[in-house]
């Protein structure tokens, strides 16, 4: 499955890119799987996703939890701090 991922704030900085198109293995089915896979993939992933509990996600524009299924358009980011 080909995914378009975008990164924000310090996740973006640590990944070194604002987004990428990836094709993870078939056993990556949830956000938690994806975060784990990215953390194991390379050094920048290890840095960005060292603490999976601090990562938030949106799939197709909707905020979801770590057990949510992945989708075509995913955003990964730290807890929000607006207002």
């Amino acid at each position: 499955m080909t995914l378009t991922i975008s990164y924000f704030a310090w996740v973006r900085e640590r990944m070194g890119v604002a987004g990428e198109v990836i094709d993870p293995p078939a056993d990556v089915t949830t956000i938690a799987d994806l975060v784990g896979w990215l953390a194991a993939r390379d050094d920048r992933g290890a840095l960005a996703f060292a603490e999976p509990g601090r990562i938030r996600a949106a799939v197709g524009g909707t905020m979801v939890g770590p057990e949510a299924a992945i989708g075509d358009e995913i955003a990964l980011f730290p807890p929000v701090t607006g207002g």
């Binding site: 704030a9 949106a58 701090t81 607006g82 207002g83």
Partner: protein, 146 residues
């Protein structure tokens, strides 16, 4: 009338008040959040999502409009770089009744901090740069409305 905006331009509170105020509502509650410079902050940068930030604000606005009897609602959030003293966020809620306007304003400012894709990065006078961490209290305040 619901108005939601995400903008890099400075927020003009008086002008927003004029637009919002056209109807002569009974009660308006307003919240203005500004960049505080009390610990050597030089610049605040607000990162946002090009589509989802405004969508998140619009969703919050509609939740508030469903929950309280409002005659007008304005929600403006600034993004990009801003100096101390500048306005980050403006919430304006009007109703025939003060309790509705006040509650909607408080709800919106609380939920803005936990539900909308916005990230604050601080640059200090000594050159240090840090992403702001959410404060424990923010989630508690946001959850009061669940």
């Amino acid at each position: 009338m619901i108005r939601v905006a995400v903008q890099t331009d400075a927020i003009n509170v008086a002008a927003e008040l004029d637009i919002h105020d056209a109807g002569g509502h009974g009660a308006s509650a307003i919240f203005v959040g500004r960049v505080r410079g009390d610990d050597g902050l030089a610049e605040l940068f607000l990162e946002h999502h090009p589509a989802l930030t405004e969508a998140g604000l619009a969703e919050l606005a509609h939740v508030a409009a469903d929950r309280w009897s409002l005659s007008a609602l304005t929600l403006v959030h600034r993004v990009g770089g801003m100096a101390t003293g500048e306005t980050i966020v403006l919430v304006l809620a009007s109703s025939a009744h003060r309790a509705e306007a006040l509650a909607a304003t408080e709800f919106l400012i609380d939920r803005l901090k936990t539900d909308v894709m916005l990230w604050k990065r601080e640059t200090f006078a000594d050159g240090r740069v840090a992403w702001v961490e959410p404060r424990d209290g923010d989630h508690g305040r946001a959850e009061r409305w669940d």
